[in-house]
Assembly symmetry: C3
Homo-oligomer: 262 residues x 3
């Protein structure tokens, strides 16, 4: 099978960045198939990138190389890392963008990428996507072994945005992981854990709004009514049927969510 290399960045689709990375990949591994996940992560939004990756990578076949470049620290001392988990490879800066992967795949190996012979020379100060991450991903696609790229490390960065905190016996404080294009507000309340809401009275507060209804499909809800739904991403989402819940609530990724059982 021809190796697949996915790309997830905050470079936008209007510049040359994504194109340059795909060119570098194809120059090193002519057989590779570059597949865009997204280049429209908001600039520097590590949490949004972590969530997007977590949703997409599991849909790809084993052996895929995932290239994740959301990298506010480019040019500083932050390390480039290579992670092996569940038969996939992940190449990214060590800034927490793989946190949700580490959580969902407790068995994973992390290496600091130090093999400069696999880099594109000269390495610029400002575009490691082209000069470090893309070449390393392409060499992996070409069959390079992870051990050739650097030593295993244990002190890689993990962030703690992914789970709500219990703030009182009947109260949990979480956050908004992402807002999708339809205005659905994706919280960090795991749908599996919170399946019990179906059997309980609850109140979820976001901004000035309060939501108490759980629906099992968008179509089931009334027009204009905010509701909670177990979204396809595996988290509770706050939605409006054919309208933007985020706009009504006035909330963005990173915003606070409070859940209370009544």
């Amino acid at each position: 099978m021809k190796p697949i290399v996915t790309l997830l960045t905050d470079f936008g689709v209007s510049g040359y960045f994504a194109g340059a990375m795909k060119g570098v990949i194809l120059g090193i591994c002519p057989e590779a198939r570059p597949i865009d996940i997204s280049h429209e992560i908001r600039p520097y939004a590590i949490t949004e990138a972590a969530f997007t990756l977590a949703q997409a990578w599991q849909c790809f076949p084993s052996g895929t190389v995932h290239l994740v470049v959301v990298d506010p620290g480019v040019g500083s001392a932050r390390r480039p890392i290579l992670v092996e988990a569940a038969g996939h490879y992940f190449v990214a800066p060590d800034n927490g963008v793989l946190t949700m992967l580490f959580d969902s795949e407790p068995i994973h190996q992390v290496r600091e990428i130090t093999a400069t012979n696999y880099f594109r020379q000269p390495v610029s100060q400002t575009f490691h996507g082209r000069d470090i991450f893309a070449p390393v991903a392409a060499h992996l696609a070409n069959g390079a072994q992870p051990a050739e790229l650097g030593e295993q490390i244990r002190d890689y960065v993990r962030l703690s945005f992914a789970k709500p905190i219990r703030s009182a016996p009947d109260k949990w404080t979480g956050c908004v992981l992402a807002v999708d294009r339809f205005g659905n507000v994706i919280t960090n309340f795991d749908a599996g854990t919170w399946r019990r809401l179906a059997a309980e009275k609850f109140e979820m507060k976001l901004g000035t709004q309060s939501v108490s209804r759980l629906a099992s499909s968008y179509a089931e809800a009334d027009a204009g009514e905010l509701f909670v739904i177990a979204g396809s991403a595996g988290f509770l989402e706050v939605s409006l049927n054919q309208a933007s819940a985020a706009a009504v609530i006035g909330i963005e990724a990173g915003g606070a969510v409070e859940l209370r059982l009544l």
Copy 2:
């Protein structure tokens, strides 16, 4: 030849949706070549998706599988369908998004997709693009036969946005199918049928504007002058040379267009 699977959705390019669908396709059919038509159809805009598909699919070679997911009714009882026409396959929700295909290809076979063994399990309530449409498209790319996917149906949804209506002996009322990035206003007046405008005096009204000039190229028109042109999509378009006609007129897809012969 490696099978081609095109993607046309309203999921946007900033989320994980398009990436997840491409991953599912490649997991089922590693030989497939996913090709993006667009993920930036306006949310729920069935007419815009119908028009975009109608323009793009005929450019692809026979045997292509076209995946169309603009699906305001996801999670409701609307059916997933598979259409065979002109040697191409189309996988979409049964909501009228294939209307222009049905019009241009009178010989077509429509099936309700019921073979749940071809779905990605568990099927979510909110992301049938990943769980139903993408897997079915990938299995078709892999050689699955349409008859394996479900029975033929005749009561599939067709909408009537595609043609103008004669509202007086010298007057026709149509609509705007789409506005392109350059602000060209694409009407539903078929350029072939309306070729006769070249030999006649006419007035086309959109919003507060009235247009009476037919040009044969953008460069031919004067700066600041609205004109009608037979567009590359096969419809009459209202344009401004190097400026946005839609902005001057103040019109969007769905807006009314009135044509009168003088």
Copy 3:
């Protein structure tokens, strides 16, 4: 190796244009691999396209066909051209969009494309991307020889936006080539030529702002401080650490830049 065809246009990602071009390419050359560089060049922005192409094409392997369609003159008498340089092919309108390529690769061959038998018939007045440029690129990917497409020409269009002008013994006037998604302002001052700034006192003026600091990485600069950096594109850029320099300066592509040595 399967032939690579890159696409760089101002068609946007929301219409059918890019999809139609990819379909045409795959219909003519089923082995081709269409790779998007960008479809989000601002409408008609030849300078931005020239810069974007200059940054991306060199990352691709030799033999790649680059399709560049930013074409305000579509339908007028401007010629379609084919350029061979550094083992790559470039198919574009003759409007200066390849100027930076001509500058960086002094050895290049330019042909006017006249072989209408390689076009998609009928050729529309408004979408030469689909009807002329994409088919020609696909035939090249299929092995057609440049000489089959038309005669060599020497009077092709070159523009002069690419280099600053010395306006006084200690003063140079240049311009902004592009603003990237992060708000970095990319000037036309070549980083190699202006390496000497590291050893000199200087003042760079853009809009109402003046910049005198040269940094070697984004992270090195203080928050809120504009600085000059040798960008990954090979030009001096004006940047702000994790914020938009372009927004602070209030400048866009095409804006003036003045450099003075003190």
